[in-house]
């Protein structure tokens, strides 16, 4: 916490007011990440590390979505039309 406060003195004065808000958001973000969820000790995980892990995690999720959408497109091309209509009717009920 003290490390973050000394860093804020170097930046502009207006950011000091919302520094706590930003720290809260970063803590919230940390709890979402699967890698950093176990380390609850705030002084061990820096804000920069949280942000780096967030970027990596979002890139991973994007890549997973891309792979899944490719796989789905192949599957949809091969699926029987009757089965696809069946699935749709099941899910919209």
């Amino acid at each position: 916490m003290s490390g973050r406060r000394s860093r804020s003195r170097q930046s502009s004065g207006t950011s000091r007011i919302s520094e706590e808000q930003i720290n809260d958001l970063i803590i919230k973000l940390q709890q979402l990440l699967p890698e950093l969820r176990d380390n609850r000790r705030s002084d061990k995980v820096s804000a920069a590390r949280v942000l780096q892990e967030t970027c990596n995690y979002i890139r991973n999720l994007h890549r997973e979505v891309d792979d899944l959408s490719e796989r789905l497109s192949e599957l949809l091309a091969n699926t029987d039309t009757a089965q696809a209509a069946l699935i749709r009717s099941l899910l919209t009920q």
Binding site: Q31, I58, L61, L68, S69, L72, L75, I87
Partner: protein, 218 residues
């Protein structure tokens, strides 16, 4: 709802498919609903993990994918184009289920409309700005402005945290020019939505591959 489905379906293997689907949905949502109880920091954390939200998204996804299938069968179906079309349909369905409360969802939907107009080469419509709340969005992934912003980020005068937040803002759609707290808040919501999207697409892919191989599901 499960009993309704099993009553109306004919007693063939499709019956087991339907129960398997509902069972898989329940299996997916039970562990996530328990975690939503513990992390109740606000409405947002529980929102993307509820079973209702998952069902909502899955139905929209299936409908969007049906439309993709119909259009791709007419045009040239190269595997990359089809994959991208599926991805865009999934993103759009995700953005719609966000109900317009977040920046990234509005950016995804507005992006799609902008691309449509650009393809038809019409002059800029003034009715669109009511939807767009951020600045100009020139394709989040294929942006030509990316080269300029990367050179700006390499300057070491910007502190580390701000630099990383800017990088994060480029990853989340529609947040390239936002302030730091906005980017962080959008990122939290976006990550949870992406997780739900991955879960839904994974279960759908398993379902389709299971029914394709025509083996009796578990």
């Amino acid at each position: 709802m499960a009993s309704l489905i099993s009553d109306t379906e004919p007693p063939t293997h499709s019956n087991t498919v339907s129960t398997d689907l509902t069972r898989r949905k329940k299996r997916l949502s039970v562990p996530s609903s328990s975690s939503s109880v513990t992390t109740r920091d606000g409405d947002n954390h529980a929102r993307w993990r509820s079973e209702k939200q998952q069902r909502n998204y899955s139905s929209k996804l299936v409908q969007a994918l049906q439309q993709v299938r119909l259009t791709s069968s007419s045009s040239s179906p190269t595997p990359q184009k089809r994959g991208k079309a599926v991805r865009e349909a999934a993103d759009r369905a995700l953005a719609v289920s966000a109900r317009g409360r977040t920046l990234w969802s509005r950016a995804i939907l507005a992006n799609k409309i902008k691309l449509k107009f650009r393809k038809q080469k019409r002059p800029k419509q003034t009715a669109i700005p009511s939807l767009i709340t951020t600045g100009s969005i020139s394709g989040s992934r294929r942006s030509k402005k990316r080269r300029v912003s990367v050179m700006r980020l390499s300057k070491k005068s910007i502190p580390t945290v701000n630099r990383k937040v800017r990088v994060l803002g480029r990853l989340v759609p529609g947040c390239k020019k936002e302030s730091v707290p906005v980017i962080l808040e959008e990122a939290t919501d976006y990550i949870q939505a992406l997780e739900m999207q991955v879960r839904a697409m994974k279960s759908l892919a398993e379902l389709l591959s299971g029914s394709n191989s025509a083996s009796p599901p578990i």
